[in-house]
Amino acid sequence: MVDRRDLVACEDVVMFVNAAVTSTGQREFRDDAIAQRLSVEFLHEYILGNYRELYAASLALDINDFNAALIVRNLLVSSRDLTPEVRRREGELIARRLELMAPQRVWRLFRELARRGVNNRRTRAIMRDWTAQRRDPVLDAVKYRTGVKATMRHAHLEVPAETGTFLFSSPRKVSAFGTPLFETWRQAHYAQRALYDLPYSVAEGLASMHGIKRATFLEKIAPQLTRLERLRLQDAAERAGVAAVRADLTGMPLTRLASYVLSLSQAERAARHDELRHAMTVSARRVAGPAAGSWGRVVAVLDDSFSSFGSTAKRQRPLAVALACRFLLKALAGEFTGLWTSGTHDPLLVRPSGPTPLGERLIDALELAPDRLIVVSDGWDNSPPGLAAEVLRVWRERLDPTGATAVVHLNPVYDAEGFDVKRLSASVPTVGVRDAEDVPALVELARFAEGRAGFAELRRYLADRQDRFRSRRAAA
């Protein structure tokens, strides 16, 4: 007998995890940025107030960086009434999560903490430890100057003498630095040629100050580009006619690559069809790893209706997730069929348009009698509204009561009004998804979303994830 309170708690936590995976505080197709932001902040406060332990534990899951930063911030703001043991565990989780986050996000989080005047001993210790483990403090100081400066000042951290001079005095007052990168940075304020030894994001501003032509700049800065900067600049480089920026697409993360594919025009996608398909396939295989081919017969229903455009803040994100899932599931499955709602056959030529006849596609998918059915959609089934839910309900009740086919709904869009991702049907578990790379782990989480597993089991699962999360740190 599952206790009622446990059930509520279980639902709350699953809801929060879904939100923490999908929400980014940006504008969505149906909500504006303010509504999204307001909704997420409220949810964080609610979970922090009621289930602090689980709130901290969610740092061990595949939540996105935006929410991880929010959780860390909220946890650090107050820790007065905690026992030392809980504090230590939270501290470990936070430290581990910060190691995984992109450094610019961590620096931004530290600046936010400084702005809010959060300056307890724990916060200072976390700032100290994280800064100490950075591999190249000199590069950090140049690349994230404001963030580093704010953190050093806020947490009273000890800095080497020259880093202090670099951060806190104007370059015009220093005649020369002993550290090579600092010296390059100083010289780049006067000499154009020094600029190309700096990180791209720093050099870009200085290049504009010197009035350097975009094409020349891209050509010469190419060796300094990071992997994602390179992917981001593909189109810009193409326009400027710079060949040096050309990236090896097979090495790119899957969802980012899908976004890149969707940013190309239909004609270009058709012309580079083989290259793009190969890149997507290789990238998906890398994500699948040893699990490739182990999922049996998989059918995916993928949403390419107009709402999968997302918003101008996150252009075609839901569609990119669907596209990435298509390739990842193909890699994971033994036998795979992908059905797009619009009826398109070529996944590389999809575009967001038209209504969402999800119900009809679901029947098509069920007819193939797969082992797993995966639906990637924002859950707004509108043609006719609610048919998908009915189809799934009736099918579960009448045609597959034993659950021979496992159905999971992956939803890439956070619904601000419902404080959760929109569900398709009560009989099918819905989990949020941000990057297609997390899909294998999310499918594991789906059984909690179904409401069958109890709170105790969820706690055990989270404890297990926490242990794995922390032990990975020890191994590293």
């Binding site: 197709f29 007819e367 509204p385 048919l387 009915e390 309900r393 009736v394």
Partner: protein, 386 residues
């Protein structure tokens, strides 16, 4: 819209609902060849002034004009998609701006060649405003000098911009445009707000957002505020009757059919037999631009509108506006007066009322200073002097 909806060449597809707004896409099986619509964003401030042409001036918020270009020989137009089009008059992503005022000439004006510039919706609205605008045709003694000399001038009506209708912007944003969609029937709180039809799907795609800059009746503004959501179609499949996937598919198809039939009846306010009078404005080759007025039935839906129809009856363009109750009353009053030669006593008899009560109704409808009070009172006491 006389002759029923079926003759227009449009098919209604299932509606999409967002809050209190219901949007019914209207789809053509094949696009109408020979006519294209485009938008010209006005660089005219708010409000802008239009020279109607007969010495009357019209002042209103006008965000844009439409430009219709047609092929004089509709049959020989190249197949859809292969037409060589002139550069659109205004880039499709242009926004409204508010520079200095200037007068726009004429409601509908030929641009040379086979193009016509007209002000959407205002053509219809002006038709309503100019209704019996000249005032009394016979100089009965009860009408003041001003009424006889100047007619109903200045005549004022109010409408709400689409931006002000709560939820409309969101509904239009999240609406998923169908393939081949050439129009939309817009309902607010399940009353017909407007029907908008264009000749070609790509025209529709370009002009979809202009629905937000259109005018809407007062009722709709209030309905949108008071009605939270309209009921949407609820899919229900009886689980007991399903024993195989084929059954399920059949049941789902049945539900899809029921859904398509769900909203069909709701165009009735606009297709009522013989209740609309049409006035031709301009001929565009085989097409004709006209505006229509309702017969002002009280306590019913009344729409004014404009349309372009092909000789064979197909509807190429249409835009309608739902009149508010007060506007219907005004129209009804003016039409009745006109029908009785502006004789107050005859009109009062026709409306089952007395001359002074009718005079009060006229005043309360917003027409001040038209009647001489003492003459009206004498008329009521002694009747018309022969």
């Amino acid at each position: 819209m006389n002759g029923g909806f079926a003759a227009t060449g449009l098919i209604a597809r299932p509606a999409q609902v967002w809050g209190a707004v219901r949007l019914v896409p209207l789809v053509r099986e094949a696009p109408l060849v020979g006519l294209r619509l485009d938008r010209r964003v006005h660089e005219v401030g708010d409000p802008s002034i239009v020279d109607v042409g007969d010495g009357t001036y019209y002042r209103s918020f006008i965000p844009h004009a439409f430009v219709a270009s047609w092929d004089p020989d509709g049959d020989r137009t190249a197949a859809f998609g292969t037409q060589l089009q002139e550069r659109p008059v205004t880039p499709r992503n242009a926004r409204m701006r508010m520079p200095p005022r200037r007068a726009t000439r004429r409601m509908a004006r030929g641009l040379g060649g086979n193009r016509l510039r007209f002000l959407p919706m205002h053509l219809a609205l002006e038709g309503y405003l100019a209704l019996h605008f000249g005032g009394p045709a016979i100089v009965w003694e009860e009408w003041t000098d001003r009424a006889v000399r100047e007619g109903l001038s200045p005549r004022v009506e109010e409408a709400y911009c689409g931006y002000a209708v709560r939820g409309l912007a969101d509904a239009l944003k999240v609406f998923e445009i169908h393939r081949g969609q050439c129009g939309v029937a817009l309902y607010v709180a399940d009353t017909l707000a407007s029907v908008f039809v264009v000749p070609h799907p790509s025209d529709y795609r370009a002009l979809h957002a202009t629905l937000l800059e259109d005018l809407y009746g007062e009722v709709l503004f209030h309905y949108a505020n008071y009605v939270e959501a309209v009921p949407d179609f609820v899919v229900g499949i009886e689980a007991e009757r399903v024993s195989s996937l084929a059954d399920l598919r059949r049941a789902a198809a049945g539900q899809a059919g029921a859904w398509e039939r769900f909203h069909h009846l709701m165009l009735s306010g606009l297709t009522g037999e013989g209740s609309y009078t049409s006035e031709s404005v301009y001929r565009l080759g085989p097409f004709e631009l006209s505006r229509f007025l309702p017969s002002f039935r009280l306590d019913e839906e009344n729409h004014i509108g404009e349309r372009i129809t092909h000789q064979d009856g197909r509807l190429a363009y249409c835009k309608t506006f739902r009149l508010s109750a007060a506007q219907i009353r005004r129209g009804h009053l003016l039409t009745t007066l006109h029908a009785h030669g502006w004789a107050l006593d005859a009109a009062a008899t026709a409306l089952n009322t007395t001359p002074s009560a009718l005079a009060r109704r006229i005043r309360e409808s917003g027409f001040e200073g038209l009647l001489r009070q003492h003459v009206v009172e004498r008329l009521e006491r002694e009747g018309r002097r022969r």
